[in-house]
Amino acid sequence: MLSTECELLSNQLVAPDHYVMQILAPEIARASLPGQFVHLRIPRTMDPLLRRPLSVMLADKVHGHLRLLVRAAGRGTEIIVALPSGASVDLLGPLGSPFPMPDEIDGGSDKDVLLVAGGVGVAPLVCLADAMRSLDDTPYIRSMFGASTEDMLVCWTELAARSDEFSVATEDGSAGEEGLITEVLAGQLERGHARVVYGCGPAAMMAEVARMSAEAGVPCYCSFEQRMGCGVGACLSCAIGAAGGGYLRVCKDGPVFNAEQVDWEAIRDE
């Protein structure tokens, strides 16, 4: 874990309200694993005051670049995405527990890996796909990406380029299947050839992904979001309901959890 002031190399609008930020952060890039995040703040201002958690979409360990995909979701991220290239950002990271690699999961090594992305949830899955491609024993990667409309399939090429198969669903049918990405997932699970499902997206989507995976008897790992204070496990701000009662810390115990660990009811009610 490092806290460093870094240069924002570029900041590009890639879809309405969505930006890809490239940041020079060699140590963090080298250390980061898929599913981990950085806790970002703008130095020397109190507006916003706190850091904002952002998943690492790509860590270029050679050049020391981090690539983040940022959606302007509120006051803080609006100020962040407005930063000009050349600006300073302060990063704390890499933080959190990464996705387990397929070989760490008991699921049948001949089977496929399914990646299900919704919206900016694509970011950690790009990172995961990237890492899986450089494994000795690269799995067959089937990726699915859902969004409301074509525009919102942000950075889909990044995911597609790292997948063996890639499907898309949009709610308005402007690209790929018309409907929810979980319908695409249903088809994939039916094929009975899935070893593990990795998901990241809106809570409702992930809940459905988890439910379907459980039904199909396939292990499922999802990356979660919660409002954060410290990002390092100290403040207990980032609680989400645990399956057995009590709470888990998204920043430290997660952000990636086995779908069986979390209390989906509580998450939906929040």
Binding site: M1, L2, S3, R41, M46, D47, P48, L49, L50, R51, G76, D90, L92, Q226, R227, M228, G229, C230, G231, V232, G233, A234, C235, L236, S237, C238, A239, I240, G241, G245, G246, Y247, K252, A266, E270
Partner: protein
């Protein structure tokens, strides 16, 4: 300009801390979470997250929301309970050689007495901080807003331990000096102030409170003027050391509290913004003393009172 190393040590009852920069309860976990980024051994003390007798799961999320130059939290005293803390956290933290202050939260006088007993017995803590001011649990502020109850509580704990006692005061009162005097008269060796201000934030889109617990505690730079005022007022009426907290982000902020009357400072929300805030503020204090010819930090405690 003197280049000699200034004396930054602070006395709290029988305890002498190496320097006046500590972490505020609940913002630094059990210290361990920050161990690989912050040199814990340099801190004046680590005040751990509030301990209760039984484990507590805490409040339903969301538990935090950023506000203008501040944040609201409603953690709800989540902790594994005193026994687990003593068994699983303190030995490791003690290994870093930093003084440990336990922050105690109870629902009745007996809870505090029991907690004090447990922590005194464990041998790892240097002082006890009585949290009579947490706004995030039902009835959690009852002690802190009433001088008589404050006195009873402090007196009862005082009776069973020789550990230095710190009482942590709430700013959510009409007259904080009244509570301060009650705590000191009942035997508190020091006062810690301020805990958070009671606040809330509404999610306009969803038309309901943003925090799962509806209300929460406001901390951060936004509350600093209130905190400095509390220290200023209380310094005039008590003779024990004050540990100031509330929005301290940098060395100038720490100096503001010291000049208002604080003998030590506790760094809270700033840890989230900058995990090195504590040690950087300590470095800043050393610099300040050296470049202003201050040999002992106590020279400037309360100096703004003229």
């Amino acid at each position: 300009m003197s280049e000699a190393c200034p004396d930054l040590s602070v006395r709290i009852g029988s305890l002498v801390l190496p320097n006046p920069v500590m972490t505020a309860s609940g913002t630094f976990g059990y210290g361990l979470e920050y161990a690989d980024i912050c040199d814990l051994s340099r801190l004046g003390a680590v005040v751990i997250k509030a301990a209760t007798v039984a484990p507590r799961v805490g409040n339903r999320p969301p538990r935090i929301v950023e506000t203008a130059a501040g944040m609201l939290n409603a953690i709800g005293l989540q902790n594994p309970g005193a026994d687990a803390i003593i068994a699983e956290k303190l030995p490791e933290l003690a290994g870093f050689g930093v003084p440990i202050i336990a922050n105690l939260a109870g629902e009745c006088v007996d809870d505090y007495v029991l907690l004090a007993d447990k922590f005194a017995a464990c041998g790892h803590v240097a002082a006890l901080e009585l949290n009579i001011s947490c706004p995030n649990v039902e009835g959690g502020m009852a002690f802190g807003v009433c001088p008589e109850m404050t006195a009873e509580l402090v007196g009862s704990v005082r009776a069973i331990t020789d550990l230095p006692l710190i009482t942590k005061l709430s700013p959510n009162v009409t007259d904080i000096t009244e509570i301060a005097v009650a705590a000191v008269t009942a035997g508190s060796d020091a006062l810690s102030m301020i805990n958070t201000l009671l606040g809330m934030s509404i999610d306009v889109r969803r038309r309901r409170p943003l925090l799962g617990n509806a209300t929460g505690g406001l901390s951060g730079p936004a509350i600093r003027p209130v905190a400095v005022r509390c220290v200023w007022q209380v310094y005039d009426v008590v003779d024990v050391p004050i540990i100031g907290s509330g929005g301290i982000m940098c060395v100038e902020d720490a100096l503001e509290f010291i000049m208002a009357g604080a003998s030590a400072v506790a760094i809270g929300t700033a840890n989230f913004v900058n995990p090195l805030a504590g040690t950087e503020i300590l470095d800043g204090l050393v610099d300040y003393c050296q470049s202003n010819g201050i040999k002992d930090i106590s020279e400037i405690v309360g100096v703004a009172h003229g």
